[in-house]
Amino acid sequence: MSGHAEPETGPILASDGTPLKKRLARSLRMQKLRALALIAPLLIFVLVTFIAPIADMLFRSVENEIVSNTLPDTVAAVSDWDPKAQELPSEPVYQALYFDLFLAAEAKEHTKLGTRLNYEQVGISSLFRTSGRKLDDIGKVYEKWLIGLNPAWKSGEFWNELMRGAASAAPDTDLLAEQRARLTALTDDPMQQDIGFVPGSEIARILPLTAREYTANALFIAIDKNRDISKRGPWEAVYTALAVDLGDPEVQRAISGYQGPGSDELRAAAAAIDTAPPRDFTAAMIKVDKDWAKPENIQAIKIYSGKYTAGYYLNAIDMQKTLDGVSERPENQQIYMMLFGRTLFMSLLITFSCILLGYPVAWILANLPLRTSNLLMILVLLPFWTSLLVRTSAWKVMLQQQGVINDTLVWLGLLDDASRLIMINNQFGTIVAMTHILLPFMILPLYSVMQTIPPSYLRAAKSLGATNWTAFWRVYFPQSIPGIGAGSILVFILAIGYYITPEIVGGTTGTFISNRIAFHISSSLNWGLGAALGTILLAAVLALYWTYDKIVGIDNVKLGG
């Protein structure tokens, strides 16, 4: 060979001197990258349209941030409350509830939470809606009291100066950021614009609640309403907050030494605090809506205060969260487990009847001359070209009591006019219609697998002495099992997710879990529960697939030769 000797040990080098292994790795990597680039469009498509929605569904089935985002302080305050004591929560809970709900109502977010909690506790929807409408009344008395003391309290300009503090005072940017975060969580808006207002740190320390509510007010008015806070007086919650602050002896002491803008008016108001209306939020909230006196409403907030909840899943398996942990739902509300069972059972039945009906058809198709089988194949595919609704409605015409089949049977004298068969709006109707609709999904894989089984196998078996049946059962059938497997998986998975057909012909006993999922997605808007049901269904399908793989082997599934 060549003159220069290769070193005995050490890496083998490529012609350009780089180690051969490295070269190989590089060229393989290039190949992989090119392959990846080729499948990239599909990959992106699948990610965007398939994986992402499923991930979203999984997330929705546990997501519960709305409670803590809408009522952050209430959630914090209510954590100390023991609902089992059967007493109403303490005053701070109601006070937090008032301020949380006031802001939520201004941002029109309170009814969303009402809808969410109404899934768990009847009546919360209207409780939140009416409360949102009447909550202003609580603050109006304090506003009136303050303006009665000094008309300056009406002026937006005055308030603005008061809350900014002295020109020399340090601005409290932390408070501003904190309120920005509160509003972001509540409204889902970034809330990042500059609003031309920062509370003064000294006044914020003296009047913590007031500064907080005023900052939130200023932020919201400026960003959401595009208005300057100094043009008009603040909203009622700020007056309320001031009344609360002024009632605090600590605050009164701090005010006495305060020198910033509006300090005189503050001192005057603090001095007159005894003339202020009482700051009893428990009573005020109950006055707004008597349902706030029901501990179960606050309980619902407490139970569902977490950012994530298993509540939807529990609901989806006929359980519920209670104070004592997880328990079964009352019997008159249990439905989902039964529906899951029914869906699986009926899907199996439909799959089985598809095998029973589709097998001979596929066999005939596979064994006919190509021209004839192509013609018959069109007949098999014909249903695909008709709208699902039309096909299902056609079954209605066939199966109903005054329908074609009953009419024919009566006309033939096989049936008494009074005892017409009930073949629709029950499980039978669903099974018949869905078997018909899903039959092509069984026939096609069966056909393509059977086409690859040469007729010589049957001949060989017969020449070896097997009867027609033995030849079929021992030789042909085992080879067609991959087709049955593929067809069954297709039909079963499609059946499990069907809802239009069961909805139309299923009556009350032939509906599937998918009908409930559809109801929660498009009608009740309980997407969390719908997502939980969908996830459970997905898990059930995967579990069945896994079982199938274990028992039959997934490599034993063929869609064609």
């Binding site: 040469p454 010589s456 196998y457 001949r459 060989a460 017969k462 020449s463 070896l464 009867t467």
Partner: protein, 364 residues
């Protein structure tokens, strides 16, 4: 068992049509003796496979009778005929192991397990595949599959075995080897074999008798040597082996010899086979290896033809020449690569001739 005088398999006036218009088998009469290895040879569409399928029971004769051991079998379903069969693609059941495949015909005969295992083992041993019982057909090579197919067709000890082009899928070397094995096995076991092929070499090397099929008819039924050396008509002559033909008219017949005037006017000696009187049109046929261009080897008054060498092919053991003879540019001559062999050059003009017995005047 059939007694020695009665043919074991008999086709009597068998006709077959699929569409009611064209007969694919025309009035077939064929006797196969017990223990005979008969090959049905013919181009595709000649009706040979149809005959085999009728014998196996997968096709029914439109007319006529097929007798097996003197009993008509037309109405007996295939699984009761007890005929072993080897298929073109072997038709080994892919979902069963080799042993299960072999055991299948015994199982359907309700044989007990011990007997089955013994027979399977013996059959595997017979084809020298004893270690492969546990494998799936897909894990075997083509030749191995072929042996298993053979073993399966024989394991239930049928008296008749049918083989439908069983070696078609094998490469040349393996095919030759298997030809040998199959013939030996068939003769050792003494079973009657009907073998279908379109490969004439296969037919010539394996068979006791060959039935040449064309156009739904048996053209000639003969032993391999007769078929090659004494074809009875132009089709057989053309189909079996390499062959040169020249067209002409019979000039005179004199017992075992005749003189044929070829279309270019030259004359040639031949053996009259399918001609009866002078004036008949004929196709004279001569095997390439029987053409002589060494004039000394022909007797003095033999007719010779002028020929012009067109091409020379060196093929190792033989030389092969393409000549232009009496207007036929595809006239082939072969010569053994002997030390004294003449190498003709393209363009050379020579005279060729042959023994009248080697040149057969056949139907035109």
């Amino acid at each position: 068992m059939a007694d020695g005088n009665q043919p074991f398999v008999q086709f009597k006036n068998v006709q077959k049509t699929y569409d009611g218009e064209i007969l694919v088998v025309k009035n077939l009469n064929l006797d196969i003796a017990n223990g005979e290895f008969l090959t049905m040879l013919g181009p595709s569409g000649s009706g040979k496979t149809t005959c085999l399928m009728m014998l196996a029971g997968f096709e029914t004769a439109t007319h006529g009778e097929i007798l097996l051991d003197s009993k008509p079998i037309n109405r007996i379903p295939p699984h009761k005929r007890g005929i072993g069969m080897v298929f073109q693609n072997y038709a080994l059941f892919p979902h069963m192991t080799v042993a299960e495949n072999l055991s299948f015909p015994l199982e359907v005969r309700k044989m007990n397990k011990a007997d089955r295992e013994a027979k399977v083992a013996r059959a595997l041993d017979m084809v020298k595949m004893s270690e492969f019982g546990g494998r799936r057909p897909a894990q075997l090579s083509g030749g191995q599959q072929q042996r298993i197919a053979l073993a399966r067709a024989l394991v239930f000890e049928p008296e008749l075995v049918l083989m439908d082009e069983p070696l078609g899928a094998l490469d040349k070397q393996l095919r030759e080897h298997m030809q040998f094995e199959i013939t030996n096995l068939a003769h050792d076991l003494g079973i009657t074999t009907v073998y279908v092929t379109h490969d004439q070499t296969e037919a010539l090397t394996m068979s006791d008798q060959i039935a040449v099929f064309n156009d739904g008819k048996i053209q000639q039924l003969a032993k391999p040597a007769d078929l090659y050396e004494r074809p009875e008509n132009a089709f057989v002559a053309q189909f079996i082996g390499e062959n040169n033909t020249l067209e002409g008219v019979v000039k005179s017949i004199d017992g075992e010899t005749c003189v044929v005037t070829l279309d270019d006017g030259s004359e040639i000696d031949a053996k009259p086979v399918n001609v009866s009187k002078p004036g008949d049109r004929t196709l004279v046929s001569i095997r390439p290896e029987r053409v002589e261009f060494n004039k000394d080897r022909l007797h003095a008054d033999a007719h010779t033809l002028k020929a012009k060498v067109k091409e020379f092919f060196y093929m190792g053991d033989i030389f092969r020449f393409r000549l232009s003879v009496a207007g036929n540019d595809e006239f082939i001559v072969k010569a053994r690569n002997a030390p004294d062999a003449v190498r003709l050059k393209p363009g050379e003009e020579i005279e060729i001739g042959w023994l009248p017995a080697d040149c057969r005047a056949l139907d035109a």
